[in-house]
Symmetry: C2
Subunit: 176 residues, 2 copies
DNA sequence: TAGCCTAGAGAACGCGCGTTCTCAACACAG
DNA sequence: CTGTGTTGAGAACGCGCGTTCTCTAGGCTA
């Protein structure tokens, strides 16, 4: 197996397992079984579980934010589109809340790289919102609505949280 | 040691340990050491770690919500007071985010009693906000701002998230 | 004092997991 | 063909932890 292919398969397996079940509930042997990559190669590619978790979070951050940005750009950069995208995400089968909030809540300050990746993700989201509205406080408020909607949708299972948050967001934007 | 005293000391130890370090990072022996209660009595009082975690969450829910309600009631039941109280909490030494979001993200669907306790807490918060504003959608939006502010303050360490959320909340309330 | 119940200290058990090690199979250079 | 290096399968190791068990000391009753 190619080096590159092994890395992709490892990250794919790590993402589906860690995101669905949580980091601590998944063992390295589960990652090996799902990826089909031997333990030896696994540890040759990522020197530790922490490194694998960090790499998973970083790749997911890039994809998540990229998907959101493309979706919103295709709709003229409206703030409402952000929450429409969230609504689609919430309704999808493999929605299990925010991977970064989950990982941070689980490992917290116990793992500096993970905490740093989670902070970087939230900062990237805030900067994207800032580009949309060009207002520091409003961007921070929208970010809170996004996080609050994610938490609400994850805990209640109701994708309608996106529409509720969208209405609040538009009221805040219109006020300016 | 009295039965009642042991239970209180166990819940005190469990709360300080679980809330600060997370559930999985704390062993039952840590709880024993901090509480001063023997393992035998610990398992006589709570039959499993899951039972202890659930009891910790339930007691914390009652205290947290009670504190918030009293604080807000003493200030005439204004929505702004909710976020002032959050601001004081965020600035306190032992703030480590929302115990329920953290526990849910950590154990998730892996523990039904914990998930249920977390949902009950968020539902209690939403009902309290509903009593303040008498509007379903607005109460849900305020709950999202509360959760978003908690997540933001926990991850960035900035207690100013409360004031940012307060401004958004007042804009939403004023709009009605 | 003798017998008995309780409770605490902590050893022990079973298991899971992160990480490393062993060994056999195989590809390929000479 | 023979030696050599690489790879995968999975055993092994060390450790931590949830839970239970053992043993001992002390207090109560007769």
């Amino acid at each position: 197996m190619e080096r590159q292919e092994a890395e992709t398969r490892l990250l794919d397996a790590a993402e589906s397992l860690f995101y669905r079940r949580g980091v601590q509930a998944v063992g390295m042997d589960d990652v090996r079984a799902v990826s089909g990559v031997s333990l030896k190669r696994l540890y040759g590619t990522f020197p530790s579980k922490e490194a694998l978790v960090t790499a998973y979070l970083e790749r997911r951050d890039l994809r998540w934010t990229g998907d959101l940005e493309r979706y919103v750009a295709a709709r003229g950069g409206s703030v409402g589109a952000v929450f429409d995208w969230l609504g689609e995400w919430f309704a999808s089968d493999d929605f299990h809340g925010c991977a970064f909030i989950n990982a941070y809540g689980e490992l917290g300050d116990g793992s500096a790289p993970v905490a740093s990746a989670a902070r970087a993700h939230k900062e990237r989201l805030r900067r994207f919102l800032h580009r949309l509205v060009d207002d520091d406080e409003l961007a921070a408020q929208l970010a809170m609505l996004v996080d609050g909607a994610i938490v609400s949708a994850a805990m209640t299972g109701d994708p309608g949280a996106a529409a509720t948050a969208r209405a609040a967001a538009e009221a805040l934007v219109r006020r300016r």
